[in-house]
Amino acid sequence: MSADTPNAPVLSVRNLKIGATAYPPGEPPREIEIVHGVSFDLAKGRVLGLIGESGAGKSTIGLSALGYGRGGVKITGGEVLLDGEDILKLPRRGLRRLRGRRVTYVAQSAAAAFNPAHRLGDQVIEGALRHGLMTRRAARERARHLFAILGLPEPDSFGQRFPHQVSGGQLQRAMTAMALCPEPDLIVFDEPTTALDVTTQIDVLAAIKSAIAETGVAALYITHDLAVVAQISDEIMVLRHGNTIEHGETRQIVEAPREAYTRDLLSVRSTIKPAAAEQPGDLLRLDGIDAAYGQGLQVLHGVDMFLSRGQTLAVVGESGSGKSTTARVVTGLLPPMRGQVLFEGEALPPALKARSKEQLRRVQMIYQMADTAMNPRQTVAEIIGRPLGFYFGMRGQARRKRVAELLDQIEMGDGFAERYPAELSGGQKQRVCIARALAAEPSLILCDEPTSALDPLVAEGVLKLLGDLQQETGVGYLFITHDIATVRAIADSIAVMYQGRVVRFGPKDKVLSPPFDDYTDLLLRSVPEMEIGWLEQALGTRKMTSAGN
């Protein structure tokens, strides 16, 4: 293939194989293959979305376009052709001449990827200068131009700032400017919006999209979110466990997927839980809660909400909105300054220490990181068995039997009883945490983002389990999340929080139908939908813009 033909691919990956060193718990490290022969072509000016769950190998493939393996990752076979030249055969010097010049990279966490000791502007133009592509003057001018098209504030002086002086969304755009500055042939975007709040993500996404369009650069866009990639890419490749599942035009993948796995990814969380039967009486009521950390910062201002027995109340908001603090107040970890928590009609003592064992038993908790929520030195049977022993004095055979029942209830089975957390998958860990909460036979479970660290399909399984358990046991959930799709799937009522206040509260149907207040409108419109052209439509119709971008 010659580089001169007009439709020749910029990047051509042939049967790429990548290996890494694995550290299984309790065993010596060993070499494993994590990408098993992936091939694709990327033409000039096109955007290819690489999508898959964690462990699919998408980042590793992206970095191979720069001839780079992160931490012990090695390219073990195949070819990576850049304009027809195999970069895997290049010597170190050749690779250096290619990186930052013909191929550039945008990392997930720009906050860590920028050097804290230098001004943003100097870092943005450094690659172009070092490779001798332009004069300092021209590079500065180009950086200014890029800052402007990326919608950064005060493009003339933005480069004077240090990384810690600008927000996360701005850093992510600055990193995009840094990648575009040397006029590369190809940019690798590695989950550039994943760490951002949803209302910030939409703006960064739009900025990246328009910058790509303006410069005509080819891009690999890596993400786990199919709705995001549908907005920005021309074609999509679905990866799983280091294999290609499906590769096609974006429209075809989104509207007419050929593979079952792709269809599963597309239909995630469109399943809606049947509304829980209304049971008489309040389970939980928060009454005018003010709360602060330490002496200073007040984070909750007059928070009111209630949850009926056997139902699910979703508390939704961005990071810093006070939703997790609300949960801490309910648990007693953070006694409020004012207001009270009523549980089954009685006021709960504000501090954890003042609560009775019975009160503690009836409120249980599930965490975002199931990894850290379980003691790594205890077996599943010990983890689930402890509340049984602690609250009900169960031991020996009776306890073992109950643990087995609970393991059945979370659809895992008795075979897991003697395993340690490190031997479980992410979804299994979260299920064990659910079983531990259930073991106490609570009437309320606080769920603090229990699915946001999980891959979409696994998360859906966990949500479905939570729904089934509610049907069986009549337990109520206070479900904290930043994800509107999850809210749609599971909530009976919703509280929208913004800057420490409840801005909207009520039954799901009412909260999610117009007329909206400005913030709820922004939040709802910012959630990417699995629909081509959604981005432009959303940007055109929203009432306010995010404060944090």
Binding site: P25, L352, R355, L360, D371, T372, A373, N375
Partner: protein, 284 residues
Amino acid sequence: MSELWRSMPWSARIGLAGCAFFAFLALFADVVAPFGEREIVGDVWQASLSACEGEAGPGTCLLGTDNLGRDMASRLIYGAQTTIAVALAAGVLSFAIGMILSFTAAVVGGWTDQVLSRVNDMLLAIPTLIFALVVLAALPQTIAILIAVMAVIDQTRVYRLGRAVAVDVVVQDFVEAARLRGEGWGWIVFREILPNVLTPLIAEFGLRFAFAVLFLSTLSFLGLGIQPPEADWGGMVKDNKDGIIFLVPAALYPGAAIALLAVSVNLVVDWLLARTSSLKGGRG
């Protein structure tokens, strides 16, 4: 056990073997030592492998004799007993004090933590040796006091590590989950925290022991540690240091013994520390 041995790098094996060797000498000093601890068997500063005669009969002084004509090798072996026993006692005591205080600070938090930590910061700001010398100048010289002084000074280092490690674990969700369940502090410390910090703590204990050996030897060398005629390595260097000028290497043997013991312990500690960090890396 044999699996653990096989997973060790050669450096850790050497270290463990060294520790075992010194432990053996210390435990069976009476059996292993050819002559008595205070027995004069020959002239002053005889050369190594020279003939000498004790109460039990004639023999060879493997490493020569010391400044009073006592068998160097036998004194080294008895010195191992004294040095290791006192250092171990100081190490155990400092470790116990430091651990109890640091875990109390980390688990209880609030004012208890503030007061303990600030006092500890202040003690840490005083150089160890200076502190010890000032205090020993004011106190009668007995082994019990020596051990207590070493322990009190060194527990500040244990406290710092113990608190850091425990605070790391205390903020983990599984500890919060235990607190929300209503568990008492006994369960939280012994069942939730301790099993997760055992390896770094064992490593720290090794470091504290190695430090105690060096510190005790230094004090003895300065004449403020273990008092003669009891044999201990630091004091033996002091006794024999004047020989150096006459090219008598007697003072170097106990010095080498201290270094060998400390190297052995440090090799094991190095391996333990590497093991903790690779465990962390493995878990992601």
